[in-house]
């Protein structure tokens, strides 16, 4: 009992208790490039969802599925490009590769979730990485969101090819992006923190013709 895998791995909460001002990956971009408020003419609205908990799970589909269902109550998407959400629509699991999934949960939940998953997985062969600090989520909503994406990604985003509940890793304006479609008119872009400013400025420029607005 004293030598289980869960006890052999040192985990720590990356969110400190100390009162330190935190800034979203786009804070600099808002100051430098501005953030036009959405208007009645805006056919697409951009919204950052910063400080969420992002975990990358690696391992076999069967053991991970069991643990995720036990801990989160959702099943692991077994088919490629799958994206599932919990009943509240705030926690999601996305297929990234045959042995890799991305878990996104409300900020602050990720440390406890990681520990509960480790306990559930015990000495199974797996890895969990907390990548919350390395990436951020940018949401695009509105009827022109798809048109904006058509100019920006190389992936076919037509509804017949990209239904709700799908997610892919692909190229966005020569950078890498994880593109997901959780709802009919809402798309999510998971981008590297270091690419967040570039992505934001690209979206503002490409979205100009749709009178893009930034909700904050």
């Amino acid at each position: 009992m004293s030598n289980t895998a869960a006890e052999k791995v040192r985990t720590f909460d990356t969110r400190t208790q100390a009162k330190i001002a935190v800034e979203s990956p786009l804070a600099y971009s808002y100051r430098r490039s501005g953030a036009p408020a959405p208007t009645a003419k805006s056919r697409v609205v951009l919204r950052e969802r910063p400080f969420l908990g992002h975990l990358v799970l690696r391992g076999g589909a069967i053991v991970l599925d069991e643990a995720v269902r036990e801990v989160l109550g959702v099943s692991l998407p077994g088919e490629p490009q799958g994206l599932v959400q919990d009943a509240e629509g705030v926690r999601s699991v996305q297929w990234l590769s045959p042995d890799e999934w991305l878990l996104i949960v409300p900020g602050g939940e990720e440390f406890e979730l990681e520990n509960r998953l480790r306990a559930a997985l015990d000495d199974a062969h797996f890895a969990i990485s907390n990548v919350s600090g390395g990436q951020t989520l940018v949401e695009l909503e509105g009827e022109a969101a798809r048109e904006l994406l058509m100019k920006s990604v190389i992936y076919d985003v037509h509804p017949s090819h990209f239904p709700v509940g799908k997610g892919v890793t692909t190229v966005f304006a020569k950078a890498t992006v994880i593109l997901r479609r959780p709802a009919e008119e809402r798309w999510e872009l998971v981008v590297r923190r270091s690419f967040a400013d570039y992505t934001y400025r690209w979206l503002l420029d490409a979205g100009e013709e749709y009178a893009i607005g930034v909700a904050r």
Binding site: A61, P80, P98, V168, T170
Partner: protein
């Protein structure tokens, strides 16, 4: 621009997402110490350069990031098939129309991609 089918994603994706990684099916000698210098040199440095059907290793670099095999025609650049690591090609220089079906390994379903 052309499209490549990733056997792990189960989709045909843009060429831009992939990188070629050289000749496929190069097995490391089981006992390197027993190799002659020539055998070891062959393994490390020498690669085939056929005119026609060639088996290559590619990686879905911006995507699932898995390595897989591509059977490609070096004259027409046509990609004849793609298949997972550990599998054997069904189209070869000896069988350009495809090996007899009983010789082709049954393709595992996509769910069975990688299991620990």
């Amino acid at each position: 621009m052309f499209y490549i089918h990733c056997p792990y994603c189960g989709e045909t994706r843009e060429e831009e997402e992939f990188h070629p990684k050289g000749q496929a099916h190069i097995a490391r000698p089981l006992d390197p110490d027993a190799c002659s210098d020539e055998e070891w040199g062959d393994y490390l440095f020498f690669r085939d350069n056929p005119r026609g059907i060639h088996h290559e290793l590619w990686v879905h670099a911006v995507g699932c990031r898995k390595f897989f095999n591509v059977t490609r025609h070096t004259v027409t650049y046509e990609i004849l098939e793609t298949y997972k690591m550990g599998e054997q090609p069904s189209i070869t220089a000896e069988h350009p129309e495809g090996r007899p079906t009983d010789a082709v390994d049954q393709q595992a379903s996509l769910r069975d991609g990688v299991r620990a």
